[in-house]
């Protein structure tokens, strides 16, 4: 990875220019051309190291969300995970090493809609769902400092 791509990933996780030609503003700061910046970002995206350039929405401010956990027998994990991921309201779903082995985030318009999704998952799987909504957020998101090996 060259300096331009490292700088793009490191220094623009926040404070992305809010001007009509943001990539020109970035180019000026990195002493590159606007085309170079756009091409470098496209390359990172194709490579998979850049998820996207865009807005990260604070959970809980638009709609309602919760973290949910289930303890799924290993022989049913794929089946249950497919059911859970099938809900549009589920935007993250991870298998984790624990007896509570399925962890997912549900986001919907309001608390009732979230409760409805939980009830439906319980009905479809017959397995208890723990509902662990955020009570306080202690982290101000400034991006994540990358360490280059």
């Amino acid at each position: 990875m060259n300096d331009l791509t490292k700088n793009l990933l490191d220094e623009f996780q926040r404070d992305f220019p809010m001007t009509a030609r943001p990539y020109a503003a970035i180019a000026e700061r990195l002493e590159a051309s606007e085309d170079d910046v756009i091409e470098a970002l496209k390359g990172l995206h194709e490579q998979g190291t850049l998820s996207r350039v865009g807005a990260v929405i604070q959970t809980g401010t638009v709609g309602h969300s919760t973290l949910a956990a289930m303890s799924v027998p290993s022989d049913r994990l794929d089946e249950v995970a497919t059911i859970v991921s099938g809900f549009d309201a589920v935007n993250h779903n991870y298998e984790r090493e624990h007896h509570l082995n399925l962890w997912f985030v549900i986001t919907a318009e309001n608390a009732d809609a979230v409760d409805g999704v939980i009830a439906e998952i319980i009905r479809l799987t017959g397995i208890k769902v723990l509902n662990l909504p955020m009570l306080d957020n202690y982290h101000l998101d400034l991006g994540f400092r990358l360490q280059w090996n």
Binding site: G54, L132, Y138
Partner: protein, 171 residues
């Protein structure tokens, strides 16, 4: 900021339909083109100046957490993703939560309810590493800060990402 405060600030700035459309249009990513906000304006039926003004306002109100490049940490080699969970004295959780949330290796830090008898932990902190040992070393640093205030803790490593999309707003 508590969830109640978030809801309050949301109500105060009063998201309208155009704001919601902008969130929907941008959460999947801004275009890698010369004038990306023009495309957003076209999609939501507004003009570029208005889109930028509204995004700045939502950023200021904390509805948009940040705008920028979103690296794929997994593809960059951060393959160990550990959810550390802590059983912290309720009387001290706010004070300690803010300390932990400010550490530069912590990407998310939340107070969540216990759910006894199934779940005893009330502080959730995500740590990342190039391998498990690196993530575990971060957990040790957190343990050192929490000291006796944490009665117990665990790290839950992810073994599979089964679904991961940006927040999706329902129309």
């Amino acid at each position: 900021m508590s969830m109640e405060d978030d809801v309050l600030s949301n109500a105060i700035i009063g998201l309208d339909e155009t704001d919601r459309r902008i969130i929907k249009a941008t959460q999947g990513g801004l275009g890698l083109s010369l004038r990306p906000y023009d495309a957003v304006a076209l999609e939501v039926g507004s003009d570029t100046h208005d889109v930028i003004r509204r995004m700045k306002r939502m950023l200021h109100a904390g509805i948009i957490r940040r705008i920028g490049v979103v690296p794929n940490h997994y593809a960059l080699g951060y393959t160990a993703n550990g959810m550390t969970v802590w059983d912290v004295d309720d009387a001290r959780i706010d004070e300690l939560g803010h300390l932990i949330g400010a550490l530069d290796f912590v990407s998310h830090c939340y107070h969540r309810p216990r759910n006894l008898p199934d779940w005893r932990y009330n502080l959730f902190c995500m740590v990342h590493g190039h391998d498990r040992a690196e993530a575990e070393a971060h957990a040790d640093e957190i343990a050192a800060i929490l000291g006796d205030a944490a009665r117990n803790h665990e790290i839950l490593f992810s073994t599979r990402i089964l679904k991961k999309t940006g927040l999706r707003l329902v129309a």
